[in-house]
Amino acid sequence: MSVVTLSQLQFAATGMFHWIFVPLTLGLSIMTAWMETKYVTTGDETWLRMTKFWGKLFLINFALGVVTGITMEFQFGMNWSEYSRYVGDIFGAPLAIEATLAFFLESVFIGVWIFGWNKISKKAHLVTIWLASVATNVSALIILLANAWMQKPVGYVIRNNRAEMNDFLAVLTNDYGWIKFIHTLLSGYALAAFVIMGVSAWHLLRKNENDFFVRSFRMAAVWAFVATLGVAVTGDMHAVEIAEHQPTKFAAMESQWETRRGVGMSLLLIPDVARECNNVDMFCIPNMLSILAFHDATGEIKGLKEFPKELRPPVLPTFLSFRAMTGLGMFMLLTSLAGIVLSRRQKFVEYRAFLTLMVCAIPAPYLAEQLGWVVAELGRQPWIVYGVLKTADAVSKSITTTQVILSLIGFTVLYGMLGAIDIFLLVKYAKKGPDKDVSSIINVQGRA
């Protein structure tokens, strides 16, 4: 394999591994902050126990999210030095700003949150988790704005043999980035809510701490439903952006080969890449795809044949990932709605089939998250910066296949081990349930 392919594999592997932990961090940080707020305002100790229990899962998960983030930053220079050189003027700034604006805040105040229970007042402690979780979310925003620039480059000119920034505001207000940010953020909230619902359901099936886990489940079900609904709405808005700015990605997502107007959406499609058509095309909803893409029943959708083969993304994986992601989203929407309705009922703990389903549903949002990135990143190929720079031209010239093979093996082994340990610890602490006694973790009073 070439250095390009190996570096792509490595970036995909390290990025997807990083992305196992980040969505849960995004969601759990804000939900933990919410629980601690409830504790501070009501004084109810169950909220404190919830903060501690879900907070512990958050921290185990957080550690891996942080350490795998450095890999992402370094890889731009290590494996993609031509990319870094060519677009660093415009792409480096968000990374540096993320570190100074958000990452410091997050890392410093997470430390205070973990170790500060008995050192600062209740209110100051509450402020630390809010600062950390807001910083986590801001960090996601800045990174997604950077990513959005690769998807829809704005605010630059090609000068001095590279892309130079000429409008910073355009980079900051890139609508592609903002829609993607809200889409991604809400998907993280939905994922965290599904983890809370799943773990709660597991304990409820064993009749362990019913009050604690029913309350957790109820709270999470509302979060999950609202967040998933938001994911669907922003997903639709995002599709409009993609149809307009990344026609090849859109065509691959929907497996559209011919350029047509007023295109319908087929519920069952089987693409045939070799013959450049769809083998099976059934249950078509007339004009639906044009409506989804342009909010216009007669909108023209460009087919893949419009573009030379070397400018098309891999169709099958993009198409399948997109279908599976939206399917999982539908499933999450329905189950979280059912969760809201059922958890309001008195005999909620007796719905064993539903509770079992919710335990089994934990991997669903994880899978949807990963598939979402496959659509976004694979669908952009062969471009690294859409329409500006090809992935093949972005790779480092000074590294060898041997170097990348060795590092890829290293990452696979190391990440595999760490992932296994992390999941083991998460499951262990999730199963263990909340601590009975929280008296030792009441904050000191009177100190600022």
């Binding site: 185990i60 550690a63 891996l64 942080v66 350490v67 795998t68 983030g69 450095i70 890999t71 930053e73 370094f74 220079g77 290590m78 494996n79 030095s81 870094s84 050189r85 677009v87 660093g88 003027d89 792409f91 480096g92 700034a93 540096a96 700003i97 570190a99 100074t100 604006l101 990452f103 410091f104 805040l105 890392s107 410093v108 105040f109 430390g111 205070v112 973990i114 170790f115 500060g116 229970w117 050192k119 000068r159 130079e164 920034m165 910073f168 480092s396 010239k397 000074s398 590294i399 170097q403 590092s407 290293g410 190391l414 760490l418 340990i421 992390d422 262990k428 602490y429 030792s440 973790i441």
Partner: protein, 351 residues
């Protein structure tokens, strides 16, 4: 203002970010790789880990910022530095990843095999970055064998990991290890109590002598191995920077002998900062000199971002860096009390 003003501002900031990173992560790394020598039992190991627990993560962000700032302000340098040091950086990344999770994971399960494995992991993953950073900076001081054809924007490089392990690179590596070892031992001396604190003080005093020897060797060897001295010879006023480094190093010993460990630690901070400043001042205006041909040097003038990017970044830095420093000082104040054995045994949040 002219672009060169901003290029110089970012060169200074680039040096400051690395210096602060080494000053802060230096004691975490030192504490980490000395843990095997200093701690006699599990409780003492936990005391050591908890003494850096609240701050290690925030300290590591200075590295991410230094990397990000290099990317934003000097993208060409970022591209070359990181791709040319590929193998060394992979090792560094693995070490930093393992170190971060070891702190979090070690205490999450009981069992001696589990804990012993993480103890070994902490020692190796703290030692390797100290050595590798030194080796990397030594090689940057020395110059990297690269050809740089600016017209075609073409870089070629012939160096390997083995190539980095040249005598000068190794001396710089050992210098970093010893600097961080003394720094870490002093940190443990002020952040723990009783016997452990005393043991750390004794170790800091002992390690100071080899540090002095290697520091002298580094200063001497730099003359034939690098061009670092040229700037100091041209503008003798700059000699004050290495002089502060040397004076601080001597004061470390003076205060450590008297048992004034807080002062000794403070001067250890200054030593590290001014050692980095010495190197950076010697480099100016290069970021990475080429060992093959001075025309191929990567300088702040031929590898920087555009004026607009540098201006935006300057505004961000002027607002954010002081803010970060303020809240970090607040955090260090909250956790200023030494960690005692009974703290980690009774506190359910301790690592």
């Amino acid at each position: 203002m002219d672009i060169s003003v901003f290029q110089i501002i970012w060169f200074v900031l680039w040096g400051v970010l690395w210096a602060v990173y080494f000053m802060l992560d230096g004691f975490v790394l030192g504490t980490g790789f000395l843990a095997g020598i200093l701690a006699k039992n599990d409780t003492e190991k936990r005391v050591l880990i908890n003494s850096v627990g609240p701050v290690w993560d925030g300290n590591e962000v200075w590295l991410i910022t230094a990397g990000g700032a290099t990317f934003a302000a000097f993208p060409t340098t970022y591209a070359l530095m990181f791709s040319n040091l590929y193998s060394a950086l992979i090792l560094l990344l693995f070490a930093l990843i393992v170190r971060g999770v070891s702190f979090e994971f070690r205490g999450k399960l009981e069992g001696s095999t589990w804990k012993k494995s993480w103890d070994v992991a902490i020692i190796i993953s703290s030692f390797l970055p100290a050595l590798l950073f030194g080796v990397a900076f030594g090689n940057i001081f020395k110059g990297i064998p690269m050809k740089n054809d600016f017209a075609a924007v073409n870089f070629s490089y012939d160096g390997t990991l083995i190539g980095l392990l040249n005598p000068y690179g190794l001396v710089t590596g050992i210098l970093f290890v010893l600097l961080f070892a003394v720094h870490g031992a002093l940190y443990v001396a002020i952040k723990t109590s009783d016997e452990l604190s005393q043991r750390a003080g004794v170790l800091a005093n002992k390690l100071w002598f080899p540090l002095l020897v290697v520091a002298v060797a580094f200063l001497g060897y730099s003359y034939p191995a690098t061009k670092l001295y040229a700037n100091f010879l041209n503008a003798p006023i700059l000699v004050i920077i290495p002089l502060i480094a040397v004076a601080s190093l001597l004061l470390v010993k003076l205060f450590a002998l008297k048992g004034a460990m807080h002062k000794a630690f403070l001067f250890s901070c200054l030593t590290i900062v001014f050692v980095v400043f010495t190197g950076v001042t010697g480099l100016f205006p290069n970021l990475i000199p080429s060992s093959l041909d001075p025309a191929s040097n990567l300088t702040i003038f031929n590898s920087s971002s555009s004026l607009l990017t540098l201006q935006i970044m300057t505004v961000v830095a002027l607002i954010m860096v002081p803010t970060v420093i303020c809240y970090k000082i607040w955090v260090y104040r909250i956790f200023r009390a030494p960690v005692r054995a009974e703290d980690v045994l009774t506190d359910p949040h301790a690592y």
